[in-house]
């Protein structure tokens, strides 16, 4: 019945920056460590795609000899995170976060990471973003993981956690390469599966990030927090097809760099209506909402976005950009040759087209300072963990989070594993999970995974995306329930092979996507205000007075249950006011 059993002290699910950091730290204890990943290590997850700034306070950066501002310190960094997250961050976590960020950066430098620049992004009082491209970071982390003899199992998708007597005892997975059913026996499990951006049709992130970790944890009775805050970025190209998902280089640039103007189809620079002072350089949440409003109200561009124009700049300045702008050196960007689509001469005359794309998941599995969840033996770190970013993450702070909390999860999980025995595997549970994985092969007709995936994504985009309101969210919840009851049970595969069957993987992901969309919709409906990445058209103000609290989601008696809890405050109290959306304080 079981094709393979793998026994390991610490099982890490996910091979991105958080999983790798956890593995490296866990190996410092005398425990054996296994990473299991849905893709291929170094070639999957969001970490490799980061451009990427990694935040550390300016003073510490100066101590490392990097070009930053010594007036900055950990207190100010702390304040920026709390304010950027609009006072929903767990401040106990943030104190640790700012304190341990320099330790992690120091380690990276020792492992050979080179930092050439430090940037100041919006929302930061000072320059803090040490530039560490994800595709140079990941090979170094992978090398350090391999050096420590960590077992890495690739092309393998975890579908459920195994529990017994209120603790985690392992996990089950599908080996995508050959269709084998694998049981992992583990003393401790670290969830490091990244975000759930893949539930949206427009995302800058790898499409395999369908939030499996949130769903897997939820089904094992684990609590999640701040799920109403998937974050959108303004913006990525909507045209041409090959560039879909690629961030437009002139929108998210750091302070002091060239910015495109955002225009609607009437040529209006619509940011004037939202943030007349900061305009296109406002924080990502506001720019995304502004762009989306133009698109939804029919003032967008032909391919479903808005216009990004450089025409306000003199021709010779445009020609010079590739010479000084590191991100678009030689007019190449992220591996694409922009000359194919946007030769510089064209940019002097024509605008590009961009839309907000889902970029990050602010919320996630609820953790404490030791990365523990409410399920004994289960830890979470990186993007899958919630509580750090509150309602909106600062640029560069996801890398910091993945390094700091990845390492902490590795430390505490391995310490726990050292003093724990393997738990008993419940064979009935294993059997039930296996049946669920293979069930789709039994049906010969019904709904194809791709069809249902597209329907879920459309619903996510139109009703649970950048702009929300009560009727849209209520409609979404009804639709989700209908899909869950009538369509999910009718999923079938047109492809019968067990060897690298993409349709099969897609069917397993859909189950998770639908569950997470329900979390987002229910939490977004409950939060009757607008804050950070959550914008309610029907409640366009931030209600610091009544809504400075977190929404927690869990399964209770087979149903999705939501409750609110007070924000954990150590230093910085939320204001007592009700303010128009977008105002900081």
């Amino acid at each position: 019945m079981i094709d393979k059993i793998i026994t390991t002290d610490v099982l890490i699910i996910g091979s991105g920056g958080a999983g790798a950091s956890a593995a490296i730290k866990a190996s410092e204890c005398t425990v054996d460590v296994t990473i299991v990943t849905k893709g291929r290590m170094g070639h999957c997850g969001a970490t490799v795609t980061g451009e990427a700034d990694c935040d550390v306070d300016g003073k510490s950066l100066c101590d490392f000899g990097l070009p930053a501002d010594p007036r900055d310190n950990q207190e100010i960094f702390f304040e920026d995170i709390v304010k950027g997250g609009k006072f929903l961050s767990n401040q106990k976590l943030i104190e640790i976060h700012v304190k341990e960020a320099p330790d992690r950066l120091k380690e990276l430098i020792e492992w050979g990471v080179r930092i050439e620049r430090v940037v100041k992004a919006s929302g930061h009082t000072y320059k803090r973003g040490a530039i560490i491209p994800g595709n140079t970071l990941m090979p170094i982390l992978k090398r350090e993981v391999e050096k420590r003899g960590v077992n890495v199992i690739e092309d393998t998708m975890v579908t459920n956690l195994l529990t017994n007597g209120g603790r985690v005892v392992g996990a089950v997975a599908l080996d995508i390469q050959n269709g084998e059913f694998i049981v992992f026996k583990a003393k401790a499990v670290i969830m490091a599966t990244g975000g759930c951006m893949g539930i949206y049709p427009f995302t800058t992130a790898p499409e395999e990030l369908t939030g499996d970790g949130y769903a897997i944890a939820y089904r094992a009775g684990v609590e999640l927090i701040d799920m109403e805050f998937p974050m959108f970025i303004p913006g990525a190209f909507v045209w041409p097809p090959a560039l879909k998902g690629v961030i437009v280089p002139f929108l998210l640039s750091a302070a002091g760099e060239v910015h495109g103007w955002l225009l609607n189809k009437f040529g209006e620079r619509f940011m004037e209506r939202w943030a007349p002072k900061t305009m296109e350089h406002s924080t990502r949440d506001i720019v995304s909402v502004a762009m989306m409003m133009e698109i939804l109200e029919g003032r967008g561009s032909p391919h479903g976005g808005v216009y990004v124009s450089l025409k306000h700049l003199p021709d010779n300045l445009i020609e010079d950009i590739p010479n000084w702008r590191p991100m678009v050196k030689d007019w190449k960007y992220g591996g694409f040759d922009l000359k194919e689509f946007f030769p510089l001469d064209k940019l002097k005359k024509e605008a590009m087209e961009a839309a907000p794309y889902c970029h990050f998941t602010n919320g996630g599995i609820k953790i404490n300072e030791k990365c523990e969840t409410n399920l004994l033996g289960l830890y979470a770190a990186g993007e899958v963990a919630g509580g750090i970013h509150g309602s909106n993450r600062l640029s560069g702070n996801a890398f910091t989070a993945m390094l700091v909390w990845g390492a902490r999860a590795g430390k505490f999980a391995s310490e726990y594993a050292l003093k724990t025995d393997f738990g008993e595997i419940d064979i009935n549970q294993v059997e039930a999970f296996k049946n669920k994985i293979f069930k789709v092969f039994e049906r010969t007709e019904g709904i194809k995974p791709i069809e249902l995936r597209k329907r879920i994504q459309k619903l996510a985009w139109e009703n649970c995306g950048v702009i929300r309101d009560e009727s849209g969210l209520k409609f979404a919840i009804k639709e989700i329930e209908r899909m869950r009851d009538n369509e999910l049970p009718r999923l079938y595969l047109t492809v019968k092979t067990k060897v690298y069957n993409k349709e099969w993987v897609e069917a397993l992901q859909i189950d998770n996507m639908l569950l997470i969309l329900e979390m987002i919709a229910r939490a977004a409906l409950l939060r009757t205000e607008s804050r950070g990445a959550h914008y309610r058209k029907d409640y366009p103000y931030t209600d610091y007075k009544n809504w400075s609290k977190n929404i927690v989601i869990r399964e209770l008696n087979g149903k999705m249950d939501l409750y609110t809890q007070p924000v954990i405050v150590t230093k910085l109290k939320p204001p007592e006011k009700i303010l128009p959306y977008g105002m900081v304080e």
Binding site: G39, R40, G42, H43, C44, G45, V48, T49, G134, N135, Q177, N178, T204, A205, P206, E207, E208, W239, P240, P241, A242, L243, K244, G245, V246, P302, H303, G334, G335, F336, D337, E340, F341, K448, I450, T494, V495, T497, V499, Y500, N501, K502, E503
Partner: protein, 109 residues
């Protein structure tokens, strides 16, 4: 919206050694719109023509280096290679083939 420029012929290597199927080339007729990459074509086939096609990719934006393939005899990334005409797509040479365009990079042949 995206206008179809022309219909191109896409020839793809298919092979399922584990389940005893012999290697062969399969051709697809694909409506090409401007600015489609090799990856856009593969995804188009998977979503609209033939879901049994196996290929690996992750980031779609030239960063993860996961989608290297042989296109018209040259090693390229599927996501950043723009298609203008008929193409032939094969898996990377020298590695064990898992299925179709997916190879096991840990096993050299």
């Amino acid at each position: 919206m995206a206008e179809v420029k022309k219909i191109i012929t896409v020839k793809i290597f298919r092979f399922n050694p584990k389940e005893g199927q012999n290697p062969k080339y399969q051709t697809y007729k694909i409506p090409l719109t401007e600015g489609m990459s090799v990856l856009s074509i593969l995804k188009y086939i998977y979503e609209n023509e033939d879901s049994s096609l196996a290929f690996y990719y992750s980031c779609r934006i030239g960063k993860c280096n996961g989608c290297y393939l042989i296109v018209n005899g040259k090693i390229v990334k599927a996501c950043t290679t723009i298609v203008h005409d008929d193409i032939t797509i094969e898996p990377l040479h020298g590695f064990k083939i898992i299925r179709d365009l997916v190879v096991d990079l840990k096993v050299k042949t």
